[in-house]
């Protein structure tokens, strides 16, 4: 496609076109409107220039978590990224950590498989048998509400270097599922202990707290500070703290 000098009202957007067998960046000149986001530009191209351009989106309100992509190489929701922030030229690529299907669409099903490995909310037998509705206090709700804001955009999974650069999907569930595990572990009514899972298959030890997940999260969840680090501390209680181990011995727990 011919590239002409972009004027003030036009941006040059390069979009990855291709599939697992390869592809290339294709340039599109897109007229801009006030308040336009990258998703608008992509949809304009789809409507006017390339009807076969594959893109996944639903809400255009940063709430469904479908439109994750890499704009200028950085993971972000397309619908939350103003075109005006990028000057006259930018690139849009699919998420790199997941297998590509076509153009901007990737196969994120690995995440759903991981999710199944986390035992769901399980109250104690006593609580489960309680005929009264449970009462929860605000402070207990607040802590978990932060984690429930997750929209499953998987941007954190995409940016996490354990998955992205080292491809250790076999050894680490990734930040999104640290969030989910934390929300269950910190629930006052949940009776399961997921620390062995975290130490083992979940692989909380693979995270080195470099905080890229927190940097990209569109819901501004403090993934590292409020979920991963507390989980690491809980795992340390059980597996790495000699004094606590002695304490458990003395109290006759295993």
């Amino acid at each position: 496609m011919a590239v002409s000098t972009p004027s003030r009202n036009v941006v040059l957007m390069s979009v990855f076109r291709g599939d697992a067998d390869g592809g290339e960046l294709v340039n599109y000149r897109v007229p801009i409107r006030e308040g336009m986001v990258v998703l608008d530009a992509v949809l304009w191209v789809q409507a006017n220039m390339a009807p076969d351009l594959a893109v996944r989106w639903n809400c255009k309100a940063a709430k469904c978590g479908s439109c994750s992509a890499e704009i200028n190489g950085f993971p972000r929701l397309m619908c939350k990224s103003p075109v005006a922030e990028y000057g006259e030229e930018f690139t849009v690529r699919p998420m790199r950590t997941f297998p590509i299907i076509r153009d901007l669409v990737t196969d994120v099903s690995w995440n759903y498989e991981v999710n199944k490995k986390i035992p769901p909310f399980t109250p104690s037998a006593e609580d489960a048998a309680d005929p009264e509705p449970w009462r929860m206090q605000q402070e207990d709700v607040d802590r978990i509400t932060e984690f429930r804001k997750c929209i499953e955009c998987f941007l954190c999974q995409d940016v996490c270097h354990v998955l992205r650069n080292h491809d250790r999907k076999d050894a680490f569930f990734g930040p999104r599922f640290m969030i989910r595990t934390a929300s269950l572990e910190m629930h006052p009514k949940d009776a399961l202990d997921r620390r062995p899972l975290m130490k083992g298959e979940g692989g909380v030890g693979m995270c080195n707290i470099t905080k890229c997940c927190t940097e990209v999260c569109p819901e501004h969840i403090h993934i590292t500070d409020n979920a991963i680090i507390p989980l690491k501390e809980r795992v340390a209680d059980l597996y790495f703290d000699p004094l606590r181990a002695i304490g458990r011995r003395l109290r006759g727990k295993k």
């Binding site: 990855f16 291709g18 390869g22 592809g23 290339e24 890499e70 704009i71 200028n72 190489g73 950085f74 993971p75 972000r76 990224s81 922030e85 690139t91 690529r93 699919p94 790199r96 950590t97 590509i100 929860m136 206090q137 402070e139 207990d140 802590r143 940016v159 270097h161 354990v162 992205r164 650069n165 080292h166 491809d167 250790r168 076999d170 050894a171 572990e185 910190m186 006052p188 949940d190 692989g203 030890g205 693979m206 995270c207 080195n208 707290i209 470099t210 905080k211 890229c212 940097e215 500070d225 680090i229 507390p230 501390e233 809980r234 795992v235 340390a236 209680d237 597996y239 790495f240 703290d241």
Partner: protein
């Protein structure tokens, strides 16, 4: 199974990743960490191994508190040796400094979404770095050391007749330093876990919840406290050292 992902054509070219949340180039943070942390470590090593005292009248350098002068066969063991191991262990295993050095010195990753150099297998904190799980023990040591530093500040203020003045510049430096160090120490993630993070039901343990909230106030800016306190320690020692070696005149007010 730890194969690096095959280079795919939808991978951004090196050097083209632009973090939309930061105006700074992505080498800026790691370069600064390497420079300032590196310089501090060299300075600290010289002070600990070469210098014989941290005392000037009522002032005491944080590197030398508590003062332990032990001689073996007439040879004075560098007094700071007895002190320095604790802050070294504390900062080496601190969750914030882990981010700083994993990013800056080890490039795991240097910056978010930026490729890592291909090197040996990455194992996170599951093998060599597994000792980071003992951070809480370093916290216990520093908790005690901070009490010594508070004692030094108060003792220094009370012994003003030694100065021949009511207030010395060194008193102020020591006070600012202990405040910064307290902000850093009491915002520690291991302390946050100990204070209340480890409980699932906040409403069941009011005291620990209150404590957890207090620690959280400091914890959200833990990175800032880490840097500020490093520079106050540095500055306090430099000032006292210049006095000890007679390089600058003593500044005090009546």
């Amino acid at each position: 199974m730890a194969t690096a992902p095959a280079a795919s054509s939808h991978e951004p070219l090196p050097g083209t990743v632009q973090n939309p949340y930061s105006a700074l180039p992505n080498w800026f943070y790691p370069a600064n960490v390497v420079f300032w942390l590196g310089l501090f470590v060299v300075y600290a090593a010289v002070v600990v191994l070469v210098e014989r005292t941290g005392r000037y009248g009522p002032y005491l350098s944080p590197f030398f508190s508590p003062e332990i002068n032990l001689r073996v066969g007439g040879f004075l063991i560098p007094p700071a040796i007895w002190v320095a191991w604790a802050p070294l262990a504390f900062r080496l295993t601190c969750y914030y400094y882990r981010k700083a050095y994993f990013r800056s010195f080890l490039w795991h990753p240097r910056s978010c979404a930026v490729n890592e150099p291909k090197r040996a297998t990455y194992r996170g904190e599951t093998r060599f770095w597994i000792f980071n799980n003992l951070h809480r023990y370093a916290f216990y040591a520093i908790f005690i050391q901070t009490l010594f530093l508070w004692y030094d500040v108060i003792a220094g203020l009370l012994q003003h007749q030694q100065l021949g003045a009511v207030l010395g510049f060194g008193n102020l430096l020591m006070l600012v330093n202990v405040l910064a160090l307290s902000g850093y120490t009491y915002g520690c993630h291991a302390f946050r876990h100990l204070a209340g993070g480890g409980v699932d039901c906040f409403s069941c343990s009011r005291v620990r919840f209150a404590l957890w909230r207090g620690v959280t106030v400091l914890n959200v800016r833990h990175d800032r406290w880490a840097w500020v306190s490093m520079f106050t320690v540095w500055g306090t020692d430099v000032y006292i050292r210049l006095l000890v070696h007679g390089v600058i005149p003593h500044a005090a007010w009546n």
